[in-house]
């Protein structure tokens, strides 16, 4: 019983991280129609930045994470700005461009922070005991922050003008332009928002894992799969998919030890074959 609940809580904790990564993916996809292959690496940069603020500048963990989100959003803006000329011209090139940026970010991270990586202590590390079940306090923190972030994103997209503009651009770019929406600026904001979410995911994951330049690929792949599992293009789907993927990952690790990754992706592949549109159904963007 104890094992089940502990695995469940741990799985939901990681699920929150994957949900954040998946949400960032999905927002960029929904608003710009772009699958950002550098998203995992952006999360990694966020993780390194918050680790540096937390460990070297000795800022409180929350402050470090927020500063890292802001800094990474700026990085996101820079990437979008560089790739913007390609967007109007050739979309596939922009896609390859993000792939290239992923490689560059990983190399830059290695140059700045070294190859070995850093261990980040959790800001709260005394384990909690609830009904005789030991739960890692930090897991609850991650879940809480993830929930708050999801609600904030929902409010932003559905209750603010900027969010409405983003959704309008996603629906019909030309119509949005004709009603006076600045598409370029809206896209930049969307990219920055996606990058900020990625940085938050990275910062939260840092004490759970180990921050190295290769953290990006593993977080990116799992976030991407989470988004697909929940229904690609569907923001609610990204959240559901993230949680589902995290729980799947947690239980696979518990039962299959060294083969957990193989099992997780096998189950994912079967799930996608059975229901290709994902749990909540996909909303693909037409970039005709």
């Amino acid at each position: 019983m104890q094992l089940f609940f502990q695995t469940l809580v741990g799985g939901i904790g990681f699920g929150a991280v994957y949900a954040l990564v998946g949400m960032g993916f999905t927002i960029v996809y929904r608003t710009m129609g772009l699958v950002n292959f550098a998203h995992g690496q952006i999360a990694m940069i966020g993780a390194f930045l918050s680790a540096t603020f937390f460990l070297d500048t000795k800022l409180p963990f929350a402050v470090a994470a927020i500063m890292s989100m802001a800094a990474t959003a700026v990085v996101g803006l820079a990437i979008e700005g560089i790739l913007r000329p390609l967007e109007a011209r050739d979309f596939d090139l922009m896609l390859i461009g993000t792939l290239g940026f992923g490689v560059v970010l990983e190399a830059v991270a290695t140059r700045i922070w070294g190859a070995t990586g850093r261990a980040v202590p959790a800001p709260v590390d005394r384990p909690l005991q609830i009904f005789g079940i030991i739960i890692r306090t930090y897991d609850l923190v991650v879940i809480g922050v993830g929930a708050v972030a999801t609600v904030a994103v929902w409010v932003l997209l559905n209750r603010t003008k900027a969010g409405a503009a983003m959704q309008a651009v996603a629906m019909d770019r030309d119509a949005a332009t004709s009603v006076g929406i600045r598409v370029g600026r809206s896209n930049a904001m969307a990219f920055a928002l996606g990058a900020g979410l990625a940085a938050l995911a990275g910062s939260l994951a840092a004490p759970l894992l180990y921050v190295t330049p290769s953290l990006g690929s593993s977080l990116g792949i799992k976030g991407f799969c989470a988004a697909i599992l929940g229904g690609f293009g569907n923001i609610n789907g990204a959240v559901i998919g993230g949680l589902a993927f995290g729980i799947l990952d947690g239980f696979a690790a518990g039962h299959f030890q060294q083969y957990s990754d193989t099992v997780t992706f096998l189950v994912f592949a079967v799930a996608i074959m059975v229901r290709p549109t994902g749990i909540l159904g996909e909303l693909t963007v037409n970039r005709a």
Binding site: Q2, L3, Q6, T7, G10, F14, V35, G102, V103, E106, A107, T110, G114, A115, T116, G117, A119, P121, A122, D125, P127, I134, R136, Y138, A170, M171, L208, L209, Y210, T212, P213, S214, G216, S217, I221, F224, C225, I228, F232, G250, A253, G254, Q257, Q258, S260, D261, T262, F265, L266, F268, A269, I272, P276, E282, L283, T284, V285, N286, R287, A288
Partner: protein
């Protein structure tokens, strides 16, 4: 929002490819994203050559060509390759090894080299990947190197064995897996005791001195971890003790909550870790976070500063380590070594730097005996060396093992001290 068949098919194709790539990648030993790090051949080369231009560039894939001809002339440099992980999670091992070796070589070159010839080191990054190290072994053979120092990873050393044996290039490695002496490769030498030695000493301490009764094990399934697992289990068996649980993780794993939860349930009083430095540190950090209070016991990795750093000083307190190199203050020789190391690199040395230094010193002694020649003669000379080193008294046996004992140390306030 129109959903066209084209975009749906494209998305499915992308996701299918992603899954295939991931499953394929996850089953092999993953070392960063494959697209970025193409095997860096020469990270840097140090040449203490007095006259000619110093080659500080690190671009070509082949060996450094600092004016030395293929056939050793009277004043040409003696080429030794250092093959180690200079990137990735095990890069600390590679750095320690290189620093220790370079210190020995620089000292030798400053004293006149090998009968007037300078020793030239070239570093190769094998990323702790046996595939890469195999390629680098071939490069070393074709590049005219007569000896190799490294690698620190046992899996890589084993992978390189057939190539180096055929080319008659002796190599002194810092790995400790008992699988290495079992190879029967006459050109392979170890500058460290094997896991069997480490773990027998550790098991004896744990059971007889510290009186632990519930010992849990967590090891990784890489070459080093597997060696540790088998050696420690065998050592416990010889003392009629069975571990309460035996968890296996992978070398690249960073989240251990599943294994640690199982361990916690068995309520152990000691937890044996068989994994490299960083992974051991992460395991300890997460174990303490889950409320596991057992004493941590392990071999060489638990004696290093990077283990303490990764785990957190508070979490590493009281960890027991079996190691042949306890502190830098053990005797006059270690003090002198530590002073020189500190002067050269600005940090204090530890076990890995010490054993790399010993290995290099032995290689240099053998080279003096053969007057710079390699091949079978060098191999015999190495085996004949009797050397009082920093990590023990070296006397190589037929399988290549030189040191046969270790001691017990305990981490107190982040520093390894001798167990009283």
């Amino acid at each position: 929002m129109r959903v066209t068949t084209m975009s749906r098919r494209w998305l499915l194709a992308v996701s299918a490819c992603t899954v295939l790539v991931v499953v394929a990648g996850c089953s092999s030993s993953k070392k960063t994203s494959g697209t970025t790090s193409t095997p860096l051949a020469a990270v840097g080369s140090t040449s203490a050559a007095s006259g000619g231009a110093s080659t500080a560039s690190a671009s070509t894939a082949s060996a450094s060509t600092a004016g030395s001809s293929a056939a050793p002339a009277d004043t040409s440099a003696i080429k030794i390759a250092v093959i180690d992980a200079q990137s990735g999670q095990s890069s600390s091992l590679g750095k320690w090894e290189y620093d220790g070796v370079k210190l020995a070589v620089d000292q030798a070159n400053a004293a006149g080299g090998i009968n007037g010839r300078k020793v030239e080191l070239t570093v190769f990054d094998d990323q702790a990947d046996p595939t890469v190290s195999t390629n680098l072994a071939r490069k070393a053979v074709s590049g005219g190197f007569i000896a190799i120092l490294g690698p620190a990873e046992s899996a890589d050393a084993i992978a390189m064995s057939p190539i180096l044996q055929q080319a008659k290039i002796p190599y002194i490695t810092s790995g400790q897996s008992p699988a290495m002496p079992k190879l029967g490769d006459p050109y392979l030498f170890l500058n460290s005791p094997t896991s069997t030695t480490y773990d027998t000493t550790l098991a004896n301490y744990a059971v007889k001195t510290a009186n632990f009764t519930h010992i849990a094990m967590i090891t990784n399934n890489g070459a080093y971890g597997k060696g540790e697992h088998d050696a420690f289990t065998a050592a416990l068996k010889a003392l009629n003790v069975t571990p309460v649980t035996d968890q296996i993780v992978t070398p690249d794993q960073t989240d251990f909550s599943a294994a640690l939860t199982s361990i916690r349930q068995k309520n152990p009083d000691a937890l044996f870790i068989g994994a490299e430095e960083v992974e051991s540190g992460l395991i300890v950090k997460q174990a303490r976070g889950l409320g596991i209070k057992a004493t941590i016991i392990g071999a060489a990795p638990t004696s290093t500063p990077i283990f303490v750093q990764t785990a957190g000083t508070a979490n590493a307190e009281g960890a027991v380590s079996s190691t042949p190199y306890l502190t830098n203050d053990t005797n006059a020789q270690t003090k002198a070594f530590a002073a020189a190391y500190d002067a050269a690199y600005g940090t204090e040395p530890e076990l890995h730097g010490a054993k790399a230094y010993d290995g290099a010193e032995i290689m240099l002694q053998a080279l003096k005996t053969t007057n710079g020649a390699g091949g079978q003669a060098l191999d015999d000379a190495i085996r004949a060396v009797k050397y009082q080193g920093l990590v023990g008294n070296f006397a190589f046996d037929a399988t290549g093992v030189g040191v046969h004992e270790t001691q017990i140390g305990i981490i107190k306030n982040g520093v390894l001290t001798a167990a009283s």
